[in-house]
């Protein structure tokens, strides 16, 4: 789209061919003896120790799961345990060179990675730093059980802390790394650079890209590693993440020192199975996963396969790849070959593989082999290695005893504090900027052409005689959103925005017009048409500490980022025990005139998911105020807009939309018109049709309607609505969503429950039909209109004298439609 890039037909139509460089496979072939020049004996023994720790940790869990007992310590763990026995060399090799500022993201099978990265961080942090980390995490709650019983060095204590914190988390104890709210598949510990592991296969495939984007955009040191399985290479979001990570613009369009690739390693922990599906030979076609890199960019992602059964081979790869990233030539793809002896989970009977195969891998076991090599190279003795194993078993035994003790490691006391998890769902913070530094902008805000243009607009829809200003002169809904966003761009240096057509075009609905001039590329850019990656990367970006406004254009595209919106965005604040903030404002526009796949209101889908705030302003004043509030918070907000509204002026707020900053609290409905006979509660753009209905009701039937604009869906303060119903005794809830299962239904049910004694008729929902959205010309028979509202009031709430219905709102019709599912 940028005009600077000329697509020359005579160039692109030329004949030619794509050539590929060879993709290295298991090229490392040094012996321990040779590596002694690069590693001290201590280093090599630590590599051995780290692998043994992981092996014993996983073995312990395996025994607890299958026998309920580890070395005489009995415990029943009903939760999941996806173990990585056999994969230790890959994990330790991956983590060994990483600094504390390097972040890893993982999968459901990431205990080994947590421990490897944790042990690596412990080796690199000073005793003071370690004490500070341990003392400050949840004010020392995780640390206390190990601290009180420790004698020895701080590093030994930190290892105990790591094992205990992870184990207590797996056992859902309040002393765990995430208060027991993450559990086995989501455990993580950010002070050691361990970012969320993800129970959704490939879930880290786009989130890690966002984390790398955060590092790059905010000039943070360190790289990001996405540990994802070989089977996740089939997942759409992983491909979308890769597509996002390899955008040409990083090298072609981003300016100055922002030019260059993302500091990201896609680390395929290739254990060769996706549950029971064999990726090589059965469920995938890449044969060697490193091949994938060749198709993604000219650098072929610097992809190679590394022997993940030799920790030194993996370490070697990481040393080489880090250099590439430091040269801003990322991202990199590594295919780290490994094998798990344990099943997918303890219930896995391994029916998909032969005993011989498992035995053959065990015969080449990385820990046994590496131990022999260390002895052979004179780095260690057998006794020393046996001693390490013995120490590790003791460490596991003592950690297990602590973690299962209900006095030392209690679960959250939900009986005493029943709202504990509820309090974790949102931070409800008010934060001007996520980081204190000067935002990078192209010119002072006052010089921005759009800002100058808005200064001349009429901020209220009507003149003093009540006559509407011309569209072109009217400050509109899209201007309200723009003002809130540009204001935040000049306040918060971490704020970035992206989505399809966000730059140059100014967004499909012209909300961002003028932003291109104000912001450098890295703060506002066009994404690939990949909603999964748009939202997924935003999650990773926010998780690391940045504020971000992803935009997916049409609401109908929510399905394309379903996992991100439903599983990732809402979950991480609570699953982290509130360690992580999620300042993401996801802009979603409800369409109109564009038919079945571009006109749906799916607010209910998002409002149904715990952990999301959902707003849907209908006026410029509310749009600006709610966007300000959304951007001031640190919680994920789904910000619904409507294409019926973008050019609407402010018709309600006297004095028009204020020029200065103001917030409208999320969750507060607004009475747009006072009345006494019937309440009409609307969601989104239906407000205007309700106003029209209110006029007709007043003029034709003498019925005074109170119109309330919900403005927010979740959270939602029912009190003003209940007060209104107390007055009127009657309520219609209307919105553009298809009626069945809509949020209108949720509201109707809640109002029935809370206002039962005040109700003169059941709350009636007037939503859209349960059909496909037809063509614009037929929309009147699909979306609610004033006439429907009046008919529904007449048929179901209070018969209006002299009214003749045109639409069938009878109970019989309702039953019939439900029977048919339409």
């Amino acid at each position: 789209m940028p005009k600077s890039q000329f697509i020359d037909p005579s160039e692109v139509r030329k004949a030619g061919e794509i050539t590929f460089s060879p993709v290295p496979v298991n090229q490392y072939n040094k012996s321990v003896e040779e590596e002694k020049a690069n590693f001290s004996n201590e280093d090599l023994l630590r590599i051995y120790r780290d692998m043994v720790v992981i092996r014993e940790f996983e073995t312990m869990l395996n025994l607890v799961k299958i026998r309920g007992d580890y070395n005489g310590i009995a415990y029943d763990h009903p939760g999941p345990a996806h173990l990585s026995i056999g994969q230790e060399a890959a994990a330790v090799g991956m983590a060994y060179t990483l600094g504390v500022e390097d972040f890893i993201f993982g999968s459901h099978r990431s205990h080994g990675e947590i421990l490897a990265k944790g042990l690596s961080a412990i080796a690199k942090l000073s005793d003071e730093q370690l004490m500070q980390v341990m003392e400050s995490h949840f004010d020392g709650i995780t640390f206390a059980p190990v601290k009180n019983r420790h004698s020895g060095t701080v590093k030994e204590l930190a290892v105990k802390f790591l094992i205990y914190g992870t184990l207590a988390e797996i056992f859902a104890r309040e002393t765990g790394f995430n208060k027991g709210l993450g559990g086995s598949m989501h455990a993580f510990f950010t002070p050691f650079g361990v970012y969320p592991n993800n129970a959704i296969v490939g879930g880290s495939g786009d989130i890690a890209v966002g984390a790398a984007l955060y590092k790059k955009v905010n000039r943070k040191p360190g790289i990001v590693v996405a540990n994802i399985g070989d089977a996740s290479m089939a997942c759409g979001p992983v491909w979308e993440g890769l597509a996002f990570a390899t955008m040409d613009q990083f090298n072609e369009l981003w300016e100055g020192n922002m030019k260059g690739g993302l500091p990201l390693i896609i680390n395929i922990m290739n254990n060769q199975y996706g549950m029971g599906g064999q990726t090589c030979g059965e469920t995938a076609g890449y044969n060697i996963a490193a091949r994938i890199g060749a198709g993604l960019n000219a650098d072929q992602l610097h992809a190679e396969r590394v022997d993940g059964y030799n920790p030194l081979a993996v370490i070697d790869a990481y040393k080489r790849k880090r250099k590439i990233l430091e040269e801003k030539r990322g991202p990199v793809l590594l295919d780290v070959l490994t094998y798990r002896y344990s099943g997918h989970s303890p219930s896995d009977a391994s029916s998909y593989r032969s005993k011989e195969e498992v035995e053959a891998w065990e015969a080449q076991d990385s820990i046994a082999w590496f131990g022999r090599e260390l002895v052979k190279a004179g780095v260690s003795t057998e006794e020393k290695l046996t001693g390490i194993k013995g120490d590790t078993i003791s460490l596991m035994e003592s950690s297990l005893k602590l973690a299962i003790d209900y006095d030392i490691s209690p679960r959250m006391d939900m009986a005493k504090y029943p709202n504990l998890i509820g309090e974790m769902m949102f931070g409800n913070e008010s934060v001007d900027r996520m980081e204190d530094r000067t935002p990078e902008v192209n010119h002072p805000m006052a010089e921005n052409p759009r800002v100058q243009q808005l200064a001349k607009k009429e901020r209220f829809a009507f003149d003093e005689n009540g006559k509407a200003h011309s569209k072109i002169k009217t400050y509109a809904y899209r201007d309200g959103i723009f003002e809130a966003i540009i204001d935040r761009f000049y306040k918060d240096p971490t704020l970035i925005a992206y989505g399809e057509e966000n730059r140059d075009w100014g967004g499909a609905f012209a909300v961002y017009r003028g932003l291109t001039e104000a912001l450098p590329y890295h703060r506002l850019f066009n994404s690939p048409i990949a909603e999964g990656a748009i939202v997924g990367t935003a999650i990773g970006y926010a998780m690391c500490g940045g504020r971000v406004i992803p935009e997916i254009m049409y609401c109908d595209f929510l399905g394309r980022c379903g996992d991100q919106v439903f599983n990732q965005l809402p979950k991480w604040q609570a699953m982290s025990g509130n360690v992580i903030k999620m300042p993401v404002v996801l802009r979603v526009s409800v369409g109109s005139k564009y038919g079945a796949q571009h006109s749906q209101d799916w607010t209910a889908l998002t409002a149904q998911i715990p952990g999301l705030k959902v707003v849907f302003p209908a006026t410029p004043y509310d749009a600006k105020g709610l966007m300000n509030a959304a951007l001031q918070g640190t919680d994920p907000v789904i910000f619904f807009e409507s294409q019926r509204l973008y050019d609407m002026g402010e018709m309600f707020h006297k004095g028009g939309v204020p020029e200065g900053y103001y917030e409208i609290p999320i969750g507060e409905p607004d009475i747009k018109r006072e009345g006494k006979d019937v309440t009409i509660l609307t969601i989104g753009a239906t407000l205007y049709r309700a106003m029209e209905a209110a006029d007709i009701l007043q003029e034709k039937y003498g019925v005074s309607a109170e119109v309330i604009d919900a403005r927010s869906l979740s959270p939602f303060n029912y009190e003003p609505v209940l007060a209104s119903v107390k007055k009127t005794g009657r309520i219609v809830i209307s919105g553009d969503a298809s009626t069945r299962g809509s949020f209108m239904k949720e509201m109707a049910q809640t109002i029935s429950e809370l206002a039962f004694d005040d109700l003169d008729a059941p709350p009636v929902v007037v939503g859209s039909r349960n059909w496909i959205t037809p063509a614009y010309e037929l929309e009147n028979s699909f979306f609610p209109c004033a006439e429907w509202l009046i008919d529904a009031i007449h048929e179901k709430i209070v018969p209006l004298k002299g009214h003749v219905v045109k639409n069938n709102f009878t109970s019989a019709e309702q039953i019939r439609r439900n029977k048919l599912g339409v």
């Binding site: 006979d677 005794g729 005040d758 109700l759 003169d760 048929e795 179901k796 709430i797 209070v798 209006l800």
Partner: protein, 442 residues
């Protein structure tokens, strides 16, 4: 046939009673005379018993409820009988259609329609039900105007609008005393109770103080009103030459002062003595008129109106015609004293106790009045002050003579004007010709 159990009206001023305790429960078998419930006014506790045998079909109020008097509290009847018609508010709503035209024609006020037969299953919105209870509207009999015939709030409001807003007692009182509902409505469902009624006058507004009547006053009021309402009264006036009676009085005074007699014989005593004599000649005046018959008394039971601090009292002296002047004087003095002290026997105060009454206002300077008959007596004599009037002394000589005014009110139902006049003349004669019953000591 089911019958309602009313909250009794316990006295004139009781508006509502607090239901104390149910001694029978809904569904209990009750016999006439069984105590159903206790209740209390602000002054006392009472018990109400069953007036019929049957099943206590329903109770409409709970213990502790404030219940307007004369309102149905419960229903006694046979199993299966409907109680709905007795539900408080029902009777009221049933009278609604007469006034439905006055309902303002707004969308929220449809016509009040009633169902022919309450089916027992009523479709009503929760809000309407609450409003009905608050306003005391019986929704069971209403026809809903909502979707599918649901009773909705506007139906209740419309029914309430055409429903009297006054309690039964208040309606009665307002009618009787030309009062209007005041600003406060302190009864159930915002109804105006009798206490809330005010007398508002365009001239003086409410610039007055309401004084509660004493029981005595109430009794007098009732007696007076009943008298005027139930008899055909008219009064004849005449005057008697008082020279002789005054001279007599003087003489009695003199002998009293001299200690020769002990009884102070007053003019009133002398008049009474004279009237008794007249009554003996006109027995038809010494009588009671009781509708289709009269009681002609053989003896004279003389009532004497006595002014006391607590109001007018009329004690009786039995068999007054048997008494000497001195004896009569003593007895009159005794009962008047008892009245003033308040220890007179109530028997002596009953209007039926006297056969004729004398009311003497002479001491107060009243020259003429129309006393009110103490029914069922047939007449009353008002004795007025003595004033000098010119009189023909004979031989064309006129002089001023003290004359005593006499006002006889009689019930024309019992006596004709002629009889009354003759009787009055007889009194005059008796007074003018009264002589001392004994020779005065010289």
């Amino acid at each position: 046939m089911a019958i309602p159990v009313l909250m009794p009206r316990q006295g004139q001023s009781v508006e509502t009673c607090i239901l104390g305790e149910w001694l029978k429960k809904k569904g209990d078998v009750v016999k006439a005379g069984d105590i159903l419930f206790s209740y209390e006014t602000d002054k006392a506790s009472f018990e109400e018993d069953a007036k019929a045998d049957g099943i206590l079909l329903d109770v409409f109020f709970a213990e502790g409820d404030e219940v307007p008097v004369l309102v149905n509290v419960a229903v006694i009847g046979a199993i299966g009988e409907s109680v709905d018609e007795f539900r408080p508010g029902g009777q009221v709503a049933a009278t609604a259609p007469e006034t439905q035209d006055t309902v303002a024609e707004t969308v929220a006020a449809p016509e009040v329609k009633k169902v022919a037969e309450p089916s027992g299953k009523v479709k009503i919105s929760p809000r309407a039900k609450n409003t009905a209870e608050k306003m005391g509207v019986d929704y069971q009999i209403l026809q809903g105007s909502g979707p599918d015939g649901r009773i909705i709030e506007r139906d209740i409001e419309a029914a309430a609008q055409v429903m009297p807003k006054l309690t039964p007692l208040a309606q009665e009182k307002a009618k009787a005393e030309s009062l209007k509902p005041g600003e406060t409505a302190s009864g159930l469902g915002g109804k105006t109770i009798a206490k809330d009624l005010i007398s508002y006058n365009p001239v003086y507004g409410d610039d007055f103080e309401v004084k509660k009547l004493t029981n005595m006053r109430k009794l007098i009021a009732k007696a007076m009103l009943t008298s005027l309402q139930n008899s055909a009264q008219l009064t004849h006036h005449m005057s008697a030459d008082a020279r002789k009676i005054m001279a007599l009085r003087k003489k009695f005074k003199k002998v009293l002062d001299a200690g020769q007699i002990s009884q102070n014989i007053t003019i009133n005593d002398l008049v009474c003595f004279a009237v008794i004599k007249a009554l003996k000649k006109y027995p038809q005046v010494n009588s009671h008129f009781i509708g289709d018959s009269m009681r002609w008394f053989k003896k004279v039971h003389l009532g004497l109106a006595v002014d006391t601090d607590r109001g007018l009292m009329v004690p009786v002296v039995k068999n007054a015609d048997d008494l000497s002047l001195e004896g009569l004087s003593a007895q009159l003095q005794a009962i008047a004293g008892q009245c003033r002290k308040g220890n007179v026997s109530p028997e002596l105060l009953a209007p039926e106790a006297a056969s004729f009454t004398i009311s003497n206002l002479g001491n107060y300077g009243v020259e003429m009045f129309t006393p009110v008959i103490n029914i069922p007596q047939t007449a009353i004599l008002g004795v007025c002050t003595i004033v000098p009037r010119p009189k023909d002394l004979g031989d064309g000589v006129y002089g001023f003579v003290p004359m005593m005014g006499l006002s006889l009110t009689y019930d024309h139902q019992a006596l004709d004007g002629g009889e009354a006049t003759l009787f009055l003349r007889e009194i005059k004669e008796q007074i003018e010709n009264l002589t001392a019953p004994f020779p005065f000591p010289q």
